[in-house]
């Protein structure tokens, strides 16, 4: 496989939800073997972008190529073949609640391979050891904390040895220790397993420590691209607002509304 080609190549992507455009002319090339962060204010469509990359929804226009496959022409069978080469970590882990931790991690192996039980056990325990939860193999998902659930989901995402690992907001609601653990795991798994990682997040500080490239999305377009250091001194107001965490700026603090005083003093009924 050509290492120079991007693993995800998005050209002139447009996508709308309910008539409201989410992306309009988005271009993005995600390099192989790197940790790439996709950041942006809430509601810019970061999660939607992941759904487009993984083929859960289809673009209205433009092209998305993932590992050389054109997502526009891919049928269900081809899509499932492609997804076997991807792993995805959902915001809340999305563990199957009726299975134990062990069975959750074993699930993709049991569904897609005919490996003997002994080998499945070894593989699952190895992956659980990698995320530090070998001791929790017998627990049910309801017995895990948020951080532990995400680590189990991570073990499940890597159990099929994917080429591409996608993280959807992996730090939401985590305490600093769990966050640190997940951060270290993202970097370590990427480097030791030779993966490509895409991390969608808005935790600027945290993600800057592990990512090689950052894309900043706003208004349906990429407004900045570069290393975390480059982004810090990027000559754009929106980037400064986002990276500096400023309440008001190009992304307004107020949701569009009629004039404040006029509305307060108006005699009409409540809206």
């Amino acid at each position: 496989m050509n290492q120079a080609l991007p693993i995800v190549d998005i050209r002139n992507l447009s996508y709308a939800i309910g008539g409201r455009p989410v992306f309009d002319g988005l271009d993005m090339a995600i390099p192989r073997g790197k940790v790439t962060a996709v950041m942006g204010p809430s509601g810019t469509g970061k999660t939607t972008l992941l759904r487009l990359i993984t083929g859960q929804v289809h673009a209205d226009g433009g092209a998305i190529e993932v590992a050389g496959q054109d997502m526009r022409t891919l049928k269900r069978k081809g899509l499932y073949e492609l997804r076997r080469r991807m792993g995805m970590l959902f915001q809340n882990g999305a563990l199957l609640t009726d299975l134990t931790v062990f069975e959750n991690v074993a699930f993709p192996l049991r569904e897609h391979t005919d490996l003997p039980e002994r080998l499945i056990r070894q593989l699952v325990l190895t992956k659980l050891q990698a995320v530090g939860l070998r001791g929790a193999a017998g627990l049910m998902p309801s017995e895990l904390s948020g951080g532990m659930s995400r680590r189990v989901a991570l073990a499940r995402a890597i159990v099929m040895d994917p080429e591409l690992l996608i993280y959807d907001e992996p730090f939401v609601g985590l305490d600093p220790i769990s966050m640190g653990v997940i951060l270290r795991l993202i970097r370590r798994l990427n480097d030791t397993l030779g993966l490509t990682s895409i991390v969608v997040s808005h935790d600027v500080e945290e993600i800057s420590t592990v990512s090689d490239t950052v894309f900043l999305l706003s208004g349906g377009k990429v407004v900045a691209k570069g290393t975390p250091q480059e982004l810090r001194c990027y000559p754009s107001e929106i980037v400064r607002q986002f990276v500096g965490g400023l309440a008001d700026g190009p992304v307004p603090f107020h949701y569009p509304a009629p004039d404040y005083f006029a509305e307060l003093l108006a005699p009409g009924e409540a809206n």
Binding site: E81, R83, M86, G87, F90, A94, P108, E111
Partner: protein, 255 residues
């Protein structure tokens, strides 16, 4: 004119929804052969939908049978033909009350459980996670639940009818003093195989309808607490209407 337009629009919407349900059913039917290879998943769902509904079905069957015994006895006594109580209760239970009441109880007990379980799986991204692991959730989650319901329903209806007949016997024979011999012999003579067939066909059809409605509502539930609640309510309401409507059609067809 406006009302006419709205009426027309709602008719179109209903047809579109019905079309979506039929498409969903067809997609499941295509996947059934490969799902049968994973029979363990289906057995687990027969347990969930069937065995766990047994208590409510048996209790209701007993009470319905007892009421039939009482009412039937009062009525038949007027004509001096109390001995016909056995055949009256059996036919009423096997052809009508067994399948219909079982289906209504099934929709309330197993149908709501199915819809809320699938809805919550949707809301907690479990179905998307399966999709991302290249496992078709319809094949792995929905079809086994559908088949579990379809297989459990006729069995539950048979148990309901059997316990109901016992309940009618309890009141008619033990309490009101109908002759035990004529109660059972008239039942054997009066209930034909076609009556039993009608009951079986009905309960199978209701099994398909109730399970289909439950898995469809759950699978396409809006992934919020409110959405899952609404899907559960819709399951019961739609199932009840569908069962009673189908009951009329099937009864007319069997005449």
């Amino acid at each position: 004119m406006n009302t006419l337009n709205e009426l027309w629009q709602s008719l179109i919407d209903s047809l579109v929804r019905l079309g979506a349900v039929v498409r969903f059913l067809l997609r499941m039917l295509v996947l059934i052969p490969s799902s049968l290879l994973r029979f363990d998943l289906i057995v687990a769902q027969i347990w969930n939908a069937g065995a766990l509904s047994l208590v409510i079905i048996m209790l209701s069957g007993l009470f319905v049978g007892m009421v039939l015994g009482l009412q039937g006895f009062q009525l038949l006594q007027r004509f001096g033909s109390e001995e016909a109580l056995g055949v009256a209760a059996a036919i009423g239970l096997v052809k009508e009350l067994g399948p219909v009441v079982t289906a209504l109880l099934f929709a309330g007990r197993a149908g709501t459980a199915l819809a809320s379980e699938l809805g919550l799986m949707r809301a907690t991204d479990q179905l998307s996670a399966m999709e991302m692991m290249a496992v078709d959730p319809i094949k792995h989650v929905v079809v086994p639940r559908f088949l579990g319901g379809v297989i459990a329903m006729p069995l539950l209806a048979a148990i309901f009818s059997a316990i109901g007949i016992y309940g009618a016997q309890l009141i008619g024979v033990q309490l009101m003093g109908v002759d035990s011999g004529s109660f059972w012999s008239q039942m054997r003579a009066g209930v034909s195989l076609s009556d039993i067939n009608e009951g079986i066909v009905k309960s199978c059809m209701y099994g398909v309808a109730c399970s289909l409605i439950a898995v469809y509502q759950g699978y396409y539930a809006t992934p919020t607490a409110e959405g899952v609640g609404r899907a559960t309510t819709r399951t019961v309401v739609t199932s009840a209407v569908a069962v009673l409507f189908l009951d009329y059609l099937l009864t007319a067809a069997f005449l």
